[in-house]
């Protein structure tokens, strides 16, 4: 942990997926999320980290604590300079999940987190931002 409230880690190899999971787990626990929410956040992070590695080869995961008045939350940003997503609407469709090994698990990640935002441009890269608030 470099800073108490924010940080980033590079995603360059498969072992970085586990590293990202550990960091996210520690952060979620430190912020006081319940057991199930911690699992949700870590799993969503695992999916999104794997996306970065699998489709772009390398990228970065950033995290930071966010507040909305009295409510505390965790924000994760996954950024890469990969091929980008041609049809974001389609990628967010519920049927387009990670069932058969295809798809990006974005609807799933959205289901697990409270907010999901995605920016992507073909040939430029992708940025997925997710947030979960502690209830």
């Amino acid at each position: 942990m470099t800073n108490e409230d924010a940080g980033e880690v590079r995603i360059d190899s498969e072992s970085d997926i586990v590293a990202a999971r550990k960091i996210v787990r520690d952060m979620a626990i430190a912020l006081g999320f319940g057991v199930t929410d911690v699992t949700r956040i870590v799993t969503a992070a695992s999916e999104l980290t794997r996306n970065v590695f699998r489709y772009a080869g390398s990228g970065i995961m950033r995290w930071r604590t966010v507040t909305a008045g009295e409510v505390i939350g965790l924000e994760l940003v996954f950024e890469d300079h990969g091929p980008g997503i041609p049809d974001i609407t389609r990628a967010m469709e519920v049927g387009y999940t990670t069932k058969g090994g295809l798809g990006l698990g974005l609807p799933g990640a959205k289901r697990l987190m409270d907010e999901l935002e995605i920016e992507s441009e073909v040939g430029k890269g992708t940025r997925v931002t997710v947030k979960k608030w502690r209830k």
Partner: protein, 128 residues
Amino acid sequence: MADDTISVIKLHNVLMVTVPPDPDDETVSALQERVLQTMERYEAKGLVLDISTVETLDSFFARTVVETVQMVALMGGRTVLAGMRPSVAITATQLGLTLGSALTALDVDRALDVLDDRPRLGGDGDDQ
């Protein structure tokens, strides 16, 4: 985490694997390899995957399990996932993951009971 931390135990004619708490992709793939090798050697009738310490079950893990279950089935065996944690079950459900034709059991004891007999209890209902 290298694959020599995955140990496959043979109990009579059933294989048992205890999955570590947060396995990386390499370990998960190695798990599949070891299971298939051991299945072949001992002609086991079933596989019990003890996931009672697993804290994160993501799509890669789920996919590997589904594949393993299919392969084990092709080799004439059945697979039971034992001891899934509530938080993991909820997350996996909400993520939309399925476990193929894998059976499930509350713990390893019940898993072994399931493999001993024809009629089964549990599973996610993919094939009735």
